[in-house]
């Protein structure tokens, strides 16, 4: 059995105290993790490292006897990623174990420099490897978070709304890339079929910038809708975007464009043979009232 494993086993509680001390000294985030939690995490980890080291293999942590330690480390570091620690804080958690271990080794092997050097080298290699596992797990947890958020954003941002019988609208918000446009196109076309709509309004008020790629995506969607027998109206083109489109030389002459969603809706209603008529509700109410008065009067007269 190597001296390192021996030291880890024998001096577990002293090592733990020193380690916690190191962690506190290196700037522990008191706002993110409590003392008791830190102590239990460190204690469990140290214990499982000691167990694994007893197998005699202290440098190759990819072997099966270290799998428990690897799992525990991954758990701790993904928990830390969610708690809001940054990557160097998470790595320091493991690296701060070095000094206490070196100190113990020195007091045990101080008289034999060769053995001391060999054991320090072993310990250093081991802790470096554990540190790498920690950072990997930390990054993986962060990546998962990002991809989950991106997925949620994709689902959030493409609702197709029915404005009227036979008229649907899709208000686009945010930057359009090929991935999103594909989803927009599919959901718009399937809604056209489902609602039997002759007119689809694509509102780009919430699209911050239109470049050639975005314009191409929009034109594709419009052409696909036209192939299915629905007509598309592009609305919500802001003045800057109109300028950009002309400067880029994008040909939108075959597309009906309107400045606002209201104009587009008015046109859509007109195209489906409907008009919007303003009624004078105030007058209507007073008419009702006077009619009721007249009725009362008539009843009184009758009586």
């Amino acid at each position: 059995m190597s001296k390192l494993a021996d030291v880890l086993q024998k001096n577990e509680s002293e090592l733990l105290n020193d380690w916690i001390g190191e962690q506190v000294a290196s700037g522990r985030r008191r706002d993110l993790i409590s003392d008791t939690e830190l102590r239990s995490q460190s204690g469990e980890l140290l214990h499982s490292i000691g167990e694994a080291a007893r197998s005699g293999n202290v440098t190759d942590i990819s072997r099966s006897e270290w799998s428990g330690v690897r799992e525990r480390l991954s758990e701790i570091s993904s928990a830390r990623a969610k708690q809001g620690f940054n990557s160097s804080e998470t790595a320091t958690f493991v690296f701060s174990l070095k000094q206490p271990v070196f100190k113990r080794l020195r007091s045990e092997l101080g008289k034999d420099p060769d053995a001391l050097f060999a054991e320090v080298w072993n310990a250093s290699t081991l802790i470096d490897k554990l540190g790498l596992v920690t950072t990997d797990a930390f990054l993986k947890a962060k990546e998962q978070l990002i991809s989950k958020q991106a997925e949620e954003m994709l689902e959030l941002s493409t609702p197709v709304v029915k404005l009227w019988q036979g008229i649907v609208a899709i208000p686009l918000i945010g930057t359009l890339d090929s991935n999103r446009t594909q989803i927009v196109m599919e959901s718009l076309l399937s809604t056209i079929v489902a609602t039997n709509s002759k007119i689809a309004i694509i509102d780009i008020t919430g699209v911050p910038a239109v470049d050639t790629l975005v314009a191409q995506h929009l034109l594709k969607t419009i052409t696909a809708a036209k192939l299915m027998g629905a007509e598309c109206i592009l609305s919500g083109i802001r003045p800057q975007i109109a300028q950009t489109i002309v400067h880029l030389g994008i040909n939108l002459t075959d597309v009906i464009t309107k400045a606002s969603l209201a104009d587009a809706l008015a046109l859509a209603l007109q195209k489906t043979g409907r008009t919007v008529v303003k009624t004078d509700r105030a007058n209507q109410k007073s008419d009702d009232k006077s009619a009721a008065d007249n009725k009362d009067n008539a009843e009184k007269k009758g009586a």
Partner: protein, 131 residues
């Protein structure tokens, strides 16, 4: 040999594609339809592709060709019921079919066809009312 049926409804021809089109079938349809148009002197053709789920560039070009040929034979063509997936595929293949008229379903297609034919008559002054 497998053929796609062409139904006559007054002045119009109705073609419903219920099977997956392969190249030979499309060519046969092109032959049959052009001869049916000239034989019946049809004024309009309605092609229903709502059951068509797979297209390639050849079938896409065939559909565009058929409607161009019909136009030369003085007959209006309306393509109805294209599936979203088919529309996306055609657009991705770069086939926008600019000359082809489309409608959502057979009902809307018939309406459009009647409009087109009556507009065409007014223009040409052809006024024998036999619709």
């Amino acid at each position: 040999m497998e053929r796609i049926p062409i139904l006559r409804m007054g002045n119009f021809l109705l073609v419903t594609i219920q099977v997956d089109m392969h190249d030979q079938l499309a060519l046969t349809l092109q032959d049959d339809l052009t001869s049916a148009i000239s034989k019946n002197s049809a004024r309009g053709v309605l092609i229903d592709i709502s059951s068509l789920e797979i297209v390639d560039s050849f079938i896409g070009r065939m559909l565009a060709n058929i409607s161009a040929m019909a136009r030369i034979l003085d007959s209006q063509t309306v393509l109805v019921g294209m599936q979203p997936a088919v529309a996306i595929t055609l657009v991705e293949l770069g086939m926008a079919m600019p000359g082809v008229r489309t409608a959502l379903n057979v009902e809307a297609g018939m309406e459009l066809l009647r409009e087109l034919v009556s507009a065409n008559r007014l223009e040409t002054g052809d006024d024998d009312s036999e619709v």
